[in-house]
Symmetry: C2
Subunit: 215 residues, 2 copies
Amino acid sequence: MTINKPKEPRERILEAAVALFAQRGYAAVGVREIGKQAEVNIAMISYYFESKVGILKAILEDFFDRYSLIFADIKDLDISSDDCIRLIIRRIVEFVRGETNLALVGYNELPLDVPEIAQLKAKKVTEIISQLGWLMGRFNLDPVKDGWKMGIIGPSLISMVVMNFRLRPVMQRVFQLTFDDAYYEKLVETLSTLFLDGVHGIAAQNEADSGEADG
Amino acid sequence: MTINKPKEPRERILEAAVALFAQRGYAAVGVREIGKQAEVNIAMISYYFESKVGILKAILEDFFDRYSLIFADIKDLDISSDDCIRLIIRRIVEFVRGETNLALVGYNELPLDVPEIAQLKAKKVTEIISQLGWLMGRFNLDPVKDGWKMGIIGPSLISMVVMNFRLRPVMQRVFQLTFDDAYYEKLVETLSTLFLDGVHGIAAQNEADSGEADG
DNA sequence: ATAAAAATTAAACAAACGTTTGTCAAGCAT
DNA sequence: ATGCTTGACAAACGTTTGTTTAATTTTTAT
């Protein structure tokens, strides 16, 4: 559970904070606990991040910047709209899988009112939404006239993926699942089908699969 | 902003707590602030709820019980699978619209580790998931063999709806929207189409609409 | 009218909070 | 050797936290 010591204090603080914030939320975690888990004196938190909220700022900036990278080169790729969606979903899943705690903190703290980071959030969210505008055009949607639809569909996409990780501790008690490469491959496939063709698409795929297996 | 006084103290405490928890999160709100907003002495919180976490327990129980009602009579209705989904989405939207703060607290606190309510959460989530089993059968899904799909699709449904309300404060700066009856009608329609037929369904509907308007 | 019960209050509690302080040791140029 | 900077530390700062106590008012029942 303890962090690898050799790393620099600043990085150890970030890692510890991300893990703790993801588990219990920003407000529920004290600087002493962060310092303890990072094997660092509490004073170093003020030294490197000015304040506790400074840690959250650094974490959210990291989250948004890396999340933005998902869409960065999408426009330049010469692929179909469907493959475009599939690629985005694959990248989101890979991102959230690789940095689960970071993504959970970003997602969980996003709607909470923390005055010191309100501006940061608004700026970053606007950036990401504007990136989605181009994608909409490929699905007969006018970014201006149908903007409200983008406000529904876009957030739905990210929430669909993250929800899977958010509920993992609870879900693990209900279903017996091993979260290995094979599972994530199926997750990407299922979410892509669901987002592209809905539950009807899922049902059709299921029929095709069972028909293949039976015949 | 102040709560109507005539109500009973217990209810005033709940209302104030739900509003504050929704805005800033359970851990970030103190009992003194709850007491102040509820116009109640702090000691009344211990008196009526034993402790601060007792308030959260009461809130989550209320949330889950009312959320369960959404699916309660679904089995008895003689409607198509699609209409079934549409009805569920309509009810979820209506529920979250009518009790936005309650839903936000339930959704936001669900993945956070608060030992005192871990058991409550596990129990209620299991209840709701089991209710979804029946619905899956109507879409060629085997609740046993395809259980993991239910673990993906089910949570996606609720998260799609709630995400819309979670991001409202941030979204309102980006799009100029009035959240009136007409908007929610479109929200139900869009989410239903998205969940049933994906973005392809949305695109098809858009083409049909514009064709109707042009012709 | 009166006693018991319930509801409400102000005040105080120890514990935990985020932050600041002053100090010390090591590294480095002068 | 000297003075200066930087990284790290323990200790203490004043608040705020959730909770409890004991006293007081209000309600209920007899």
